[in-house]
């Protein structure tokens, strides 16, 4: 049993509040990813769970016991650092067995567990090497191996893939997921990369300016963000935000983007949005994949419009088109064969069944 609970956790550095009172329940065996821009307090939160930073307020409990004043060595946790923090004077075997040695585990037990972890990570032939003789990816594996052999209550990962090149990062990402599926230890993982967060997590915690914006499964965050920050942070290319206002005409709602462009609001949202008719500071949020080229078959809530294209970015499997609506840059994803050309008008189709209406004043999704 190793659930982790954070209750109103606060971290102050002199006068600055780095973490401003966060509540989080992490269940046993769960893979939680803390994600957010740099300076949002995600690493600080992780280090507070590890015991490397004192907490200025609130409670942290691991496995039901409050650990506020328990030093890191007694918390039964393992951590993988961004730069791996392998002991340079020890070989891989010694690095991995160090924690067990300190706990006075019998030698044959250490041997068995190190061999087992090395096998899981496919580093058996590296056991005699010094960290200096390893590549970045191998060091990363050893750092994970050091965590696995301890069989701790909780794994903590602090941006473990940031120092790897793009290809290796994707490979190690899969590796981490595989290892978690094998060992099923509660994991808290910090990253600034939303793709990493989406692919690894059971649940993602989006943090911003020392607060939690939203907690949810990757799909929840992607499809039902509750704040503008989450809507803009999750997904690449980012969600389009277009200032708009709501109009009521002949019993139906329309979202007006410019003098010439407006779309009817899907019927199932009418009751939700009616109260906001005529309000200032409204923003329409629409993901790029919901702006496509026109197709012969029209689904409900899909509406065609024409707009000149500013920039075309071919990606291979799709083409990104950038254009402007009432001064806001908008991105759409079209078929590479749709004939998108820069500085030429193009017929596009917006799918409003996935629209979000955002109050820019409060930052909340309506």
């Amino acid at each position: 049993m190793a659930q982790v609970t954070l209750r109103k956790v606060v971290k102050m550095y002199d006068e600055v509040q780095a973490v401003r009172g966060i509540d989080l329940d992490i269940t046993d065996k769960e893979f939680i990813v803390l994600v957010g821009p740099s300076g949002c307090g995600k690493s600080t939160t992780l280090r507070m769970i590890a015991g490397l930073e004192e907490i200025s307020g609130g409670d942290i409990a691991i496995g039901g016991d409050v650990v506020n004043d328990v030093p890191p060595k007694d918390r039964d946790i393992a951590m993988v650092f961004q730069n791996y923090a392998l002991y340079p004077h020890m070989n891989v075997y010694e690095n991995m067995s160090f924690g067990l040695k300190l706990k006075r585990t019998p030698k044959d037990e250490i041997e068995r567990r190190v061999r087992q972890a090395a096998q899981i990570l496919d580093i058996t032939e590296l056991l005699d090497r010094k960290p200096k003789q390893l590549s970045g990816g191998q060091r990363q594996r050893v750092a994970m191996g050091r965590a696995i052999v301890r069989d701790p209550k909780v794994f903590l990962f602090d941006e473990p893939l940031s120092n790897l090149d793009a290809k290796l990062r994707v490979q190690m990402r899969t590796e981490i997921k595989k290892v978690h599926q094998k060992v099923r230890t509660t994991t808290v993982y910090v990253t600034h990369d939303q793709v990493e967060a989406m692919t690894l997590a059971d649940r993602v915690v989006v943090m911003n300016a020392g607060l939690i914006e939203q907690v949810g499964s990757p799909n929840d965050l992607y499809h039902s963000p509750i704040t503008k920050f989450v809507a803009g942070f999750i997904g690449s290319p980012a969600m389009n935000f277009i200032p708009c206002h709501l109009e009521q005409a002949a019993g139906a709602l329309r979202v007006r983007l410019s003098d010439t462009l407006s779309f009817p609001v899907p019927a199932d949202r009418t009751s939700r949005y009616t109260a906001h008719v005529g309000k200032a500071n409204l923003v329409l949020g629409l993901r790029p994949e919901h702006i496509t080229e026109t197709r012969p078959h029209v689904e409900p809530n899909q509406h065609d419009f024409e707009n000149p294209i500013d920039v075309v970015e071919p990606m291979g499997m799709e083409t990104l088109v950038y254009f402007t609506i009432a001064g806001s840059e908008v991105c759409g994803r079209v078929n590479p064969n749709a004939g998108a050309t820069a500085e030429k008008p193009m017929k596009l189709r917006a799918d409003l069944s996935n629209m979000h209406l955002i109050d820019d004043g409060t930052g909340k999704v309506l």
Binding site: A50, G51, L52, P71, P72, K73, D74, R75, I77, A78, M79, F81, N83, A85, L86, Y87, P88, H89, M90, F98, G99, L102, K103, K130, K132, R146, R150
Partner: protein, 308 residues
């Protein structure tokens, strides 16, 4: 004619290019750049050392070659063996204490917030910066049997006067104490630099691995500082072993020659007693002892250096 004219420049160009090639070879350039230092070492180190070997094989009047006669004579003298003993005792004890004190103080200074750290570093370096002959004079006054500060303080506690420089045991203690006082800051500053180069995350990783404060020092700090500790100890051992000024100023080798180290006894024998060949032989004894120490420590450093 045309043939010769044509060949001439080619030959010159050929000669030039081989000189050019020689000049371009890295080893040649390296040698030329090191030449000033090599000349300096030859005149200031190699020549005097060779001359000392030559002197050590002459008789007292420097008129006759006696081979190893001077060494034979030394081996038979009790004072010589006492000087060997005292030199080793002096150097090894002093280096051990300098290393321990330097390490402890470096830890304290390392943990001072960086704002106040410079001040402390500066103050702690003072003993090392003052010329030893001068600071040793101050110690000489402190150690004075009748009017010194130390004995005055001890008297306040009702403790008898201590003959700091007048009795073999105390005199040996005093020279070592002064040497430690002067030399410890050097260790402190070297260890402090080494401490700063140990990445903070290694300590964090160790504490998460379950290491106590002491285990972090034993398993992380010390191995990471191994090379610096070895090099610093080696240099200090050499300098301490060859020490002259502290012993000369504080005790002049007395009482009864018991605080002499090689350098001061060589001076006593060679200059003050006028037997230069014998003095040269005494000073030569430092060479093999230091060479052995240097080989051991440097061998370990190369081994470690290729590993870490």
């Amino acid at each position: 004619m045309a043939d010769i004219a044509a060949r001439g420049p080619v030959a010159i160009a050929g000669g030039r290019s081989s000189l050019h090639k020689l000049m371009q070879r890295k080893s040649t350039i390296a040698f030329l750049m090191a030449l000033p230092l090599i000349l300096l070492i030859l005149t200031l180190v190699a020549y005097p050392a060779g001359y000392a070997v030559y002197l050590a094989m002459l008789n007292k009047g420097m008129t006759k070659f006696v081979g190893f006669g001077n060494f034979d004579f030394l081996f038979g003298r009790e004072t010589f063996w006492m000087v060997v003993y005292q030199s080793c005792l002096f150097a090894i004890t002093a280096v051990i204490f300098k290393a321990i004190i330097g390490f402890v103080v470096a830890h304290f200074v390392h943990n001072i917030p960086s704002k106040g750290q410079r001040k402390w570093r500066g103050m702690l370096l003072v003993p090392w910066v003052i010329p030893p002959a001068m600071s040793t004079l101050a110690w000489l006054w402190l150690f004075d049997p009748s009017y010194s500060a130390f004995n005055w303080i001890l008297a306040g506690f009702g403790i008898d006067r201590i003959p700091w420089t007048g009795e073999t045991g105390w005199a040996r203690f005093s020279v070592i104490l002064v040497n430690v006082w002067i030399g410890a800051p050097f260790f402190m500053i070297m260890y402090l630099a080494a401490l700063k180069s140990v990445p903070e995350q290694l300590y964090e990783a160790a504490s998460i691995d379950g290491a106590t404060w002491w285990q972090r020092i034993w398993y992380v700090t010390l191995p990471m500082m191994r090379n610096i500790i070895a090099i610093t100890a080696l240099f200090s051992l050499i300098v301490t072993f060859a020490n002259f000024d502290i012993v000369r100023v504080l005790t002049k080798g007395d009482p009864l020659n018991t605080t002499h180290v090689f350098a001061t006894w060589a001076f006593r024998v060679g200059i003050e007693s006028g037997d230069i060949p014998l003095g040269a032989s005494v000073s030569l004894f430092m060479v093999p002892i230091l060479a052995v120490a240097a080989t051991f420590i440097l061998r370990d450093i190369t081994k470690r250096g290729s590993e870490v």
